[in-house]
Amino acid sequence: MLEIKNLHATVDGKEILKGINLTINPGEVHAIMGPNGSGKSTLSYVLSGRDGYEVTEGSVTFQGKDLLAMEAEERAAEGVFLAFQYPVEIPGVSNTTFLKTALNAVRKHKGLPELDAMQFLKLIRAKAKALNMNDDMIKRAVNVGFSGGEKKRNDILQMAMLEPSFAILDETDSGLDIDALKLVADGVNSLRSPERSMLVITHYQRLLSYIVPDHVHVLAYGRIVRSGGKELALELEAKGYAEFGSPEAA
């Protein structure tokens, strides 16, 4: 599904990712944990194609294709999805217009017919209901006036609509109360399938008891310094990240 090899990336000339290696097979859920500033969001942006993140070395292959050669929208259409650590507010663009435009762009890329207004509304209402989002929320401007938790749910709604084959969840648990966390985790788990892989970035073990990972990695100062099974998350929760060194050491 996804193969990251020796990935180095810089932001504003500063090297943030210093040789990441990671292979994610179809159906697997990998968790990335690590201290603040270790490069987790940077990795998610590099994978989803954000401008300003320069890959200086290494490769990323996604379903046999060179992911890094694609524009952000192409990656999304190919099935890469990023749930943002900080979902963006877009005044004046309603959720419905946004999602219909996105869904039809992705469908077009896949050679599927575009959905008309009726089909689209039926679909979004069903998906929103599962996330406990009402009609008002889906008609409002994207994330404008949404609480932190609502924004995260909105991102998961987008994921449910677009049905990506590889989803990156960047601290989707932060700012969620336990009920919202369960809703979001249910939303994510309902998308788990043998064809779909996920990269769950989190700071806390809490999320991983709801979205149980197959593998856990520790990212510290731009490198994956340790990998293990789901029990690693518990160990990290108990011990913290101190043993993985300081930026100077990296």
Binding site: R75, A76, G92, L121, L162
Partner: protein, 459 residues
């Protein structure tokens, strides 16, 4: 601009043939206009209010009356097709065949100025005299100001050739259900017209007016429009102008409105056409509790120029003004926003707000914004804000990360930026038309037609 000598010939040749020539009132109005033009000339950047819009490089614009192209089928723009009272002007000249005044309620008159003059020059002159004239002395500041008093050359030019235009009067307490439309169609390759548009809404009256300026084959034409507006006590006038002429056209317009106690004047200006287009709006809030909402949007690309200049003059107490102007500038396009709010000494409890925002889509796009507050009363609430910026990169990435192609994402964000202005429009027919025209313009700017909430929700 043609030389003054040429203009003198033109004036002397055309005057005797204008409707009502020889009638005292009209001769006086035209002579006054001509004298004003000779005194003030075409505004130069030294004139207050004309610093950023330079008419110098317009030499060569023909001031001769435009000659309509062979009259092909002309489709008319409308905010409510089939449901308006309509006067149509082709290349500035009233066209009775295309007009459809329909049945007007008791107490309402809607005439072409030419028709009114032909019927009674004396009455026409009386009507013309009733309307406020734009003032060049726009502030109360004293002291040397070299530009003062020289900004009325274009208004003078309009007066010199006074013949065409429209006069709408709405009697006391009369509320028109259907909008009134003034439709200006440019078909000529060049040439000028100088219409006078007059709207008088008596106390308690209510009317919606849409003004269209569109090209149907038209080229480097020059429209020099002067409008006078009177909104009587408690009356409501909702006015929108859609300026969508050819990319080579020149459009200069000045609107002067007086608003009486508890009356409301809403005016919206869309500027998407012309190589140079300027609308100068002056609103005087003369009676306690008068309100005005001034809004506008423009889209310029290429090397085109749009200028929105306004003066909101709080003369009386307890008046409210709200102004929102937003535009998009691409290529080497240039936009000008000048907005002045005056609060006179008696205008206590004034509530005046002004917002100007420009979206710059290229490195060579340019905006000159000059917001000004002149406040002489102490118990007032006034604010203004001006911003200029680029498209939000984060928002752009968010949209693209969901599979939306970059150009579509841009078009969506531009539409979102401009839609906010349309929301300022109170009349839903004017608003609907404004939104549709904005979408169309974005479509031409970006090559992308975006979904709107209306199409997505099937509403």
């Amino acid at each position: 601009m043609a030389a003054i000598a040429t203009l003198k010939d033109l004036y002397e040749t055309l005057s005797p043939g204008l409707p009502g020539a020889g009638a005292a009132g009209l001769d006086r109005l035209r002579a006054d206009g001509y004298a004003r033009f000779l005194a003030d000339g075409i505004p130069t950047p030294k004139v207050e209010g004309w610093k950023y819009t330079n008419l110098r490089d317009l030499a060569g614009v023909s001031l001769a009356p435009a000659q309509p192209a062979a009259n092909t089928d002309i489709d008319l723009p409308s905010v409510a097709p089939g449901e308006t009272h309509r006067l149509v002007f082709v290349d500035g000249r009233f066209n009775a065949a295309l007009s459809a005044v329909g049945t007007l309620p008791q107490g309402v008159t809607l005439d072409s100025l030419r028709g009114l003059i032909e019927a009674s020059p004396a009455y026409a002159a009386e009507v013309l005299d009733r309307f406020p004239a734009p003032k060049s002395d726009t502030g109360l500041r004293v002291g040397p100001n070299p530009g003062r008093g020289q900004a009325l050359g274009l208004v003078g030019l309009n007066g010199a050739f006074l013949a065409e235009g429209a006069v709408l009067t709405v009697g006391e307490g009369v509320k028109l259900a259907q909008p009134v439309e003034f439709v200006f169609i440019a078909t000529a390759t060049d040439g000028a017209w100088h219409p006078r548009l007059l709207i008088d809404v008596a106390a308690g009256g209510e009317v919606t007016v849409a003004e269209h300026h569109v090209a149907r084959g038209g080229g480097a034409t020059f429209a020099n429009i002067v409008s006078g507006v009177r909104v009587g006590e408690g009356a409501i006038l909702r006015h929108a102008k859609f300026q969508e002429e050819a990319e080579t056209a020149l459009h200069l317009a000045s609107v002067t409105a007086t608003v009486a106690a508890s009356a409301t004047y809403e005016t919206f200006v869309l500027t998407t056409g012309g190589r140079l287009a300027r609308t100068d709006v002056q609103v005087r809030l003369e009676g306690s509790g008068a309100q005005t909402r001034v809004s506008g949007t423009y889209g310029v690309d290429g090397s085109r120029h749009a200028d929105f200049t306004s003066l909101i003059d709080h003369v009386a107490a307890n008046c409210t003004s709200r102004e929102v102007v937003k535009g998009v500038i691409d290529g080497r396009g240039r936009a000008v926003f000048q907005g002045k709010i005056i609060v006179r000494p008696d205008a206590q409890k004034t509530d005046g707000h002004q917002l100007n925002r420009a979206l710059l889509l290229s490195d060579t796009a340019e905006i000159d914004a000059k917001p000004e507050l002149e406040i002489y009363a102490d118990d007032v609430k006034c604010s203004h804000g001006a911003t200029a910026g680029e498209l939000d990169e984060e928002a752009l990435f968010y949209l693209r990360a969901r599979g939306i192609p970059a150009d579509t994402a841009r078009a969506l964000l531009i539409a979102a930026f401009l839609d906010e202005v349309a929301e300022e429009i109170g009349d839903e027919r004017l608003r609907g038309h404004a939104m549709a025209r904005i979408q169309e313009r974005i479509g031409r700017l970006t090559g992308i037609t975006v979904d709107t909430d209306a199409t997505v929700l099937g509403e």
